[in-house]
Structures are given as structure tokens and as C-alpha cells.
């Protein structure tokens, strides 16, 4: 059984890998809120355990074994998030934190039972893909709303931010996964975007838009 700490580091590396090509110990230290030295130590330990590869002064990558563990943790996390929402009525801004604590402590049986309760779901409340038991990840759009084109219709896929405040803000605009909307206007130079969501006009900043992933909708 891996320590909670080890699991947290693996998950952090996994998440950093999704974005940045190379993950430095410093990136990791920041994400984990520990000193750079602590991150280095853990990375060396992970390498020792063959869960990561580390080239000094360069960066870290998860090995296949490490990735497998990361996917299990992410699966736990996202299943829990959805379960908290669907079964216990949590709002989407609160599920992350609770799942964060629980993800390390549920058994395989628990995982299976909530998975069955939820009908083997593909996405969590924020639209993030839930890795399947065997490590397959449902496809997701990698198109940020910030790169979308005026005058097109889109469907919200995913909000890639977990801060409660941000989620409440976005939710207040009606922008939940699977919601359809139209991008009416988009100012140049990272300016604001105007959307029509369910008949209402909403203006959001470029920064916000960059965290929303969408796919083109066949306009109705």
C-alpha cells in the first residue's frame, strides 16, 4: 500500500504532465505546496520504486506503472465527485475537496459499488473524463473557448478549474457541462467574450474562457 503522500505526488505529476510537456521538480513543489527539496526527495523515491523516471536537473515523467496508479487515483477522485453530487446532493463547487480527502481511502468494492450506482459514468460534474477500470480515458475536446470562433454554437464540455469560487461564478452564468450556447462576439487581444446562454447574454473574460473547454455544436 502506497502512502497518501506518494499517491498525492503521483497524481500531481500526472496532472502536470497533461499540460506541460516536461515536469520539473519545481512545478511539482509548487503544486504540492512543499519545498523544492522535498519534491526532489520524493521524485528520487518514486524513481527508486520505478514509478517515475528522473533525470537530474531535467524533470520527471511517470513510468507505465506510475501512470497506472495515477489513473486509479483520478478514477477514484472523479467517481467520488460524481457520486457526491448525484447521490448526496453536493453542489459542483464542493465535490472536489471532499473527494480529495476520500480518494485515498476507498476500497475496490466501494469503487465498484458507486460506479454501478452511477451507471459506469464517463464524466465527472466538471466534465472531466473518468478513466475506466482498465485505464481507458473517454475522449474530450481540447478546444478552449478562448480559441473559439464568433458566431458559432458550442456545447460546454469541461471546466478545468476546481476552485469553489470560480465554479460558483461559472455556474452562475449557467455554464455547466452539456449546456449549449452561442459565441456572439469575441474581442481581440484577449478581450472579453459575449455569449448567449439559454437566451441570456453573458460577458466573460478571456482568462475565464481559457478554462472552459467546448465542442462545436451542429447549430440547431
Amino acid at each position: 500500500m502506497l502512502s497518501q503522500s506518494i499517491e498525492d505526488y503521483i497524481k500531481a505529476i500526472y496532472k502536470l504532465q497533461e499540460h506541460n510537456t516536461s515536469v520539473t521538480t519545481n512545478d511539482l513543489a509548487k503544486k504540492m505546496n512543499v519545498s523544492a527539496a522535498s519534491a526532489t526527495n520524493m521524485v528520487k523515491k518514486l524513481a527508486e520504486m520505478n514509478l517515475a523516471e528522473h533525470t537530474s536537473y531535467k524533470g520527471v515523467t511517470l513510468t507505465e506503472a506510475g501512470t497506472k496508479i495515477a489513473l486509479e487515483i483520478v478514477r477514484h477522485h472523479r467517481l467520488l465527485e460524481l457520486y457526491l453530487q448525484q447521490a448526496l446532493g453536493y453542489t459542483w463547487d464542493k465535490v472536489h475537496e471532499e473527494a480529495e480527502h476520500l480518494e485515498h481511502h476507498i476500497s475496490e468494492e466501494f469503487e465498484d459499488r458507486i460506479n454501478d450506482f452511477l451507471g459506469n459514468p464517463q464524466y465527472d460534474p466538471h466534465g472531466a473524463p473518468i478513466p475506466s477500470r482498465d485505464g481507458t480515458i473517454p475522449t474530450i475536446s481540447k478546444d478552449s473557448l478562448a480559441d473559439a470562433d464568433e458566431d458559432n454554437e458550442y456545447i460546454m464540455q469541461r471546466v478545468e478549474e476546481e476552485s469553489p469560487d470560480f465554479l460558483r461564478y461559472v455556474g452562475g452564468l449557467g455554464l455547466f457541462p452539456n449546456v449549449r450556447f452561442k459565441l456572439i462576439a469575441k474581442e481581440p487581444f484577449k478581450g472579453p467574450l459575449t455569449l448567449r446562454v439559454d437566451g441570456d447574454m453573458k460577458i466573460i473574460g478571456h482568462e475565464t474562457a481559457s478554462k472552459l473547454y467546448v465542442y462545436r455544436s451542429e447549430s440547431a
Copy 2:
């Protein structure tokens, strides 16, 4: 936030206090599966934190503050057990272990939500009382079936053992909380007991009976 370890010790002391009047560090060490020295160390730390009182070479008692914490943990544990059974279909022999892991990691919100889901329940799947939010404990019979009298009707209140094997055995006899049965015969000298449960005759040992708590039923 108390460490998991501290919480586990507090809970162990609480449970030992329920039975034995005085709790020695050795009792505690056995219950916790640690060396006597480790138990002594922790007890001193708890005393330091004003969660327990310790008189050297004598024993430990929880303070009011310590008891309050114990009750919270026990509440978490028993609510979880019932939730796992009611909401997720766990059998009663498996709920203990899962709850044991989760009890330290659920938030107050989680506690409240499962409590509401369960309708503010009083007893867990084994008939153990669930302390209320404010620390009140539902009444329970302290009469063991081992001390019961021939020819009377009883209702199962509680099974005071958490080992899966034992619970499966007892469950196989049909002896769940709230089940009514009649004590047909009872051999002297800690001999076996004969019961009629739902029309069927069952013979159980004294040792088993001593772990079953019952109350007299007004015979129908």
C-alpha cells in the same frame, strides 16, 4: 486537526472504557496492535493535550474533551456503516472495515448528508447505538443472551463483534437486530443454548451468546 493515529487511540480507549472500568496502557497496546511502549507514549501525549488523564502505572481515562472526540469518531463510524449497507448494498459483515478507513476522512457536511439520507438513525447495522450530533447515546440493553432465561422471548438488539466471519455465522442463524426469537433451552455451566428463530431451531455456544445483546419481548 488530529492525526489519524491520535483519533484511533482515542477511539480505542473509549471502547475499552465501555467494558473494563480501568484501562491500562497494556490493554490499549493490545487493542491497537502496538508495543506497550508505543501506547505509553501516545497516552502521555494525549494527557499533554488534555484529552486523557494518565496516572503512571495505573491507567488512562478520557477527559470530557477526549470523550467528545471519541463520540464524534464513533458517530462517523456507525453512520458510515449504516450508509454503506442502506445506500450501497454492503452486507453487514463488510461495513466495519470500510467504515474504519473512511471515518477519519469525512467532513461535517458529509456526515450531515448521510445522516439526513438515513433519517437521523439511532442504530447501526449491528445494533450499536449511533451517538447523536450533541453526544447523546441511544439507550441499549446491556443484557447478554448468555444471561437470559429459558422459555422467554427476546428481541435481538446488538451483536458486539465485528469480525466478518463471526457476523456471517450469526447472520446465517437469522440473528439480526430486531429479530424476535425464543430461548428454548439453556444448558448449565456455559453450555449451548437452543433457540427458535422464525420457526427454526438453532443451537449456539455460550461464547457466541455472550456477544449477543437482547431485550425481553412481551410474548405475542
